[in-house]
């Protein structure tokens, strides 16, 4: 296993290169990582020596096959961790990005796989896609269809905001209209708001939206009782339309 600095370099080059195939100049690497030029030169040179990078004629480098494998794995860990931190734990997006940068080097492939499958807990009929977060859709792509920076920055939106609802699935309670009857698909941050469970709002249960105020407070009917829910909690309840 490579030291974390080296992994960071490979990840940065992988990200800058976009599809992973373009060659990258040393200036770009320095700018992305914010290191000193001399240090960057030395590190890149050692990565070339060990066969992770390929030195090209015009003083640029490109990932070798070996380098691409390491880089895409680290980049994936970063995405999964960031998704987990923001979507599941509600950590602020920037902080999650930084923290994912630290954690990605220590975490095992096995754990990342489990974390990833834990997160897409969407019930069948969902094609196994985490309904809340587009990272998971990207997750399904082959490493070749790598992610460019612009789509990564898309993910920096605070969770749940400005995320339009595609069709009638992958919505939160807030996307529903008054009178809709929907099935709860999953609850983000499942360990918070225990009372939702005790009042009968759990994955699989069918609820009816009784009232939705313009300020997004909602009343749902579940098990014959009306429950008033604040907008920020309603936002964490992901629903799908009833069959």
């Amino acid at each position: 296993m490579l030291p974390s600095t080296l992994e960071d370099y490979l990840e940065a080059i992988f990200t800058i290169a976009g599809d992973g195939g373009r060659s990258v100049g040393s200036q770009e690497v320095v700018a992305a990582l914010g290191t000193e030029e001399a240090a960057a030169g030395a590190t890149v040179a050692s990565l070339v020596r060990e066969g992770y990078l390929e030195q090209l004629a015009d003083d640029t480098v490109r990932l070798t096959e070996k380098g691409l494998a390491v880089a895409s794995r680290v980049a994936r860990k970063h995405r999964v961790l960031q998704c987990f931190l923001t979507e599941m734990l509600g950590v602020d997006a920037d902080a999650a990005d930084k923290e994912a940068c630290t954690l990605e080097h220590g975490i095992s492939d096995e754990t990342i796989d489990r974390l990833s499958s834990y997160m897409d807990s969407a019930p069948p009929g969902h094609a196994g896609r985490c309904p809340a977060c587009e990272i998971c859709t990207l997750e399904r792509e082959t490493p070749d269809e790598a992610i460019d920076r612009s789509s990564m920055s898309d993910l920096r939106r605070p969770p749940g905001r400005a995320r339009h609802c595609r069709g009638r699935d992958a919505c939160t309670l807030l996307d529903c209209k008054e009178g809709d009857t929907v099935r709860v698909a999953m609850i983000r941050g499942p360990r918070r708001n225990r009372r939702l469970l005790d009042l009968g709002i759990f994955p699989g249960e069918i609820v009816q939206i009784r009232r939705k105020l313009p300020n997004h407070s909602v009343v749902v009917r579940v098990k014959g009782c009306d429950i008033a829910i604040s907008p920020e909690i309603a936002m964490s309840i992901i629903v799908e339309s009833c069959p």
Binding site: P190, N193, P203, L213, S217, G224, A228
Partner: protein, 616 residues
């Protein structure tokens, strides 16, 4: 023998408790009314039975204070029989808690309450399936009519066999229960609780945690979610068997009106303003009547007696105190309590909480905070106690500040008696406007500076009920009698002491000393400072003391309109009363209590001073 009443909020536990023991426990129609264990005794066939009324809860696995309290109570097995009270109108959700309680394996009696309301909704209840499943006696009752309540105690005395129920859990959970049983010899209930992270045994907890993680990774649901879903589904099945026929009567749905922005919010504001207006108009009319009767039939005959000066002074002080006290108690305090009891019993408070949720978020709390804030109009003491229904310390701190600033009925007496009485009803409402503006401002500032996490609201909208006149009057009377028997003696003693101090000229010395300051700061005479200080004991004493010190109940004759207005504003804002300080200490601790006290004193003097500068 010891029996405990357990059940969801608003199923009628407290009402049943009252009927069984004859004690006065407060009954309200919103979650969180009973926050402590209520104990009472009853006699049945010469046997003494202790009854415990547990707070209403939704689950035994929750995190709230009440849920933890009930959990501890059941774990200690501190009761011979559990009397589970369920509402027949919300049977399925109530059965969820019943299944959890049944897992504790204590002897049990099931009371299906509110069958009258269920019948109105076209539900036909068959107690058979629940009785067969749990092996317990099931009693159908209608507590509001007292129907079948007398059967509860005999049934509880007959229940000796521990109840046994096995909720069919998911097969992974069942497997976990078996393995935990083998590893640590834990029984079914302990295993289920350990899987959710509850319990004392560290080995069991560790093993359970490992298994729980494994299950969670396979199911992609938390163990708590799986267990809750299994219980809910089982409850659904039982409810399906119990509710025989469902001929849906289309009821007129009041919520269609009450919980929409229009006309819901105008109705909410109308109710609050109407409450104040009724208290003002009817209250001041009744007060005048009482004051006049005292003048004609007590004060004037007494003065005509021509007694020695010290007796005369003391007697006058006593009569004035009685006059002011009764003039306050019946008209204002009693009216307020009646209106608030109606609001509480009807279930309207949860609608108000829903409508105000967004506004309350702005001041750092959630909609539930409407309940303490509205209660505070009656008295700040129960309002501070109900602050517990907010989850985080941050919300409770903000609520404590705001609740103590809400003009309670005693302060309404001052506003109505002094400002509305001598300055004008418009001016009286302007005092409210000032106070409300300050409350909003304080909330905005506190929500920025108070550390801690904010939680959203998840609140059951309890069914609307027509408040029972008898219950409302009894509750209002219970609260009023607290005023009559605790506050009135204090008022009388305080007045006599004051009369004595006045007679011997001690007051004059003190007032001469403070007068330059009060005149400079607020433009008020020295004796108003004495009145303010007595206001700390009970707010209404400020009014009364002022009347005694001024030597007349007709304050308009001795003080200018501006002076009366400023005095009222300062008194309303100035320091919470002694009783409020005491509950604040218990609920939020000494530091916050001190902060609230200093803040309100400073605010009162500052606003009073400011108004004097601007208006004079």
């Amino acid at each position: 023998m010891k029996f405990a009443l357990i059940g969801n909020p608003s199923v009628g536990k407290s009402l049943i408790f009252n009927q069984l023991t004859g004690l006065g426990v407060e009954v309200s129609n919103y979650p969180g009314t009973t926050v402590e264990l209520q104990r009472g005794n009853t006699c049945f066939q010469r046997e003494m039975i202790e009854l415990v009324d547990l707070p209403g809860i939704y689950s035994l696995d929750g995190e709230s204070g009440e849920e933890a309290l009930v959990r501890r109570f059941l774990e200690q097995q501190d009761t011979d029989v559990v009397i589970a009270v369920l509402s027949a109108t919300r049977l399925e959700r109530n059965l969820y808690l019943l299944l959890q309680v049944a897992e504790y394996g204590l002897p049990m009696v099931v009371v299906l309450n509110m069958v009258d309301e269920a019948a109105k909704q076209g539900l036909e209840i068959d107690p058979g399936p629940i009785g067969d499943l749990l092996g317990v006696e099931v009693i159908l009752t209608a507590a509001s009519q007292g129907k079948n309540i007398d059967r509860i105690i005999p049934a509880a005395l007959a229940a000796t066999r521990p109840v046994k129920v096995e909720v069919p859990y998911d097969h992974h959970i069942e497997a976990a229960i078996r393995s935990l049983g083998k590893i640590s010899a834990a029984d079914r209930k302990e295993s289920i609780r350990a899987l959710q992270g509850f319990g004392e045994n560290p080995d069991l907890l560790e093993a359970a945690q490992t298994i729980a993680e494994e299950i969670e990774s396979r199911h992609r649901m938390t163990v708590a979610q799986i267990i809750a879903a299994n219980r809910h589904n089982f409850a659904h099945q039982i409810a399906g068997l119990t509710i025989k026929e469902k001929t849906l009567h289309q009821k007129t749905d009041l919520d269609g009106i009450l919980t929409r922005v229009i006309p819901g919010i105008p109705i909410l504001i109308g109710i609050l303003l109407g409450m104040l207006l009724v208290v003002f108009v009817v209250g001041s009319f009744l007060e005048e009547l009482i004051v006049e009767l005292f003048d004609i039939f007590l004060l004037q005959p007494f003065l005509a007696l021509g007694l020695p000066p010290i007796v005369d002074a003391l007697g006058t002080a006593l009569i004035l105190a009685l006059q002011a006290g009764l003039g306050i108690a019946f008209p204002y305090v009693f009216l307020f309590y009646i209106i608030i009891s109606v609001l509480e019993d009807s279930g309207y408070m949860t609608r108000a909480a829903f409508l105000a949720d967004n506004a309350m978020h702005r001041v750092g709390m959630h909609g539930g905070a409407v309940i303490p804030l509205t209660l505070a109009f009656g008295c700040n003491v129960p309002a501070i106690m109900s602050v517990r229904l907010l989850h985080s310390r941050r919300e409770r701190i903000i609520a404590s500040f705001l609740v103590t600033m809400v003009p309670c009925s005693a302060r309404t007496v001052i506003i109505a008696g002094i400002v509305a009485g001598f300055v004008g009803i418009g001016a009286a409402f302007s005092v409210y406007a000032i106070v409300f503006a300050l409350i909003v401002l304080t909330g905005l500032v506190l929500s920025r500076i108070t550390p801690g996490e904010q939680f959203g609201m998840i609140m059951e909208m309890v069914p609307l009920r027509r408040p029972d006149t008898r219950l409302v009057m009894r509750k209002a009377w219970m609260r009023l009698s607290e005023f009559l028997f605790i506050a009135m003696p204090l008022l009388l003693v305080g007045s006599v002491v004051l009369g004595l101090l006045e007679f011997f000229g001690i007051m004059a010395i003190f007032e001469g000393f403070v007068e330059p300051y009060t005149m400079a700061l607020l433009g008020l005479p020295g004796y108003s400072a004495t009145a303010l200080i007595f206001g700390i004991l009970r707010k209404e004493m400020a009014f009364e003391t002022l009347a005694i010190l001024a030597g007349t109940a007709d304050l308009g004759a001795v003080l200018s309109s501006l002076q009366l207005y400023i005095f009222a504003v300062v008194t309303v804002l100035f320091i919470p009363c002694l009783a409020t300080i005491t509950v604040l200490l218990r609920e939020v601790g000494s530091r916050i209590t001190l902060a609230v006290t200093i803040y309100t004193v400073a605010l009162g003097l500052f606003i009073g001073g400011l108004m004097y500068r601007i208006l004079a």
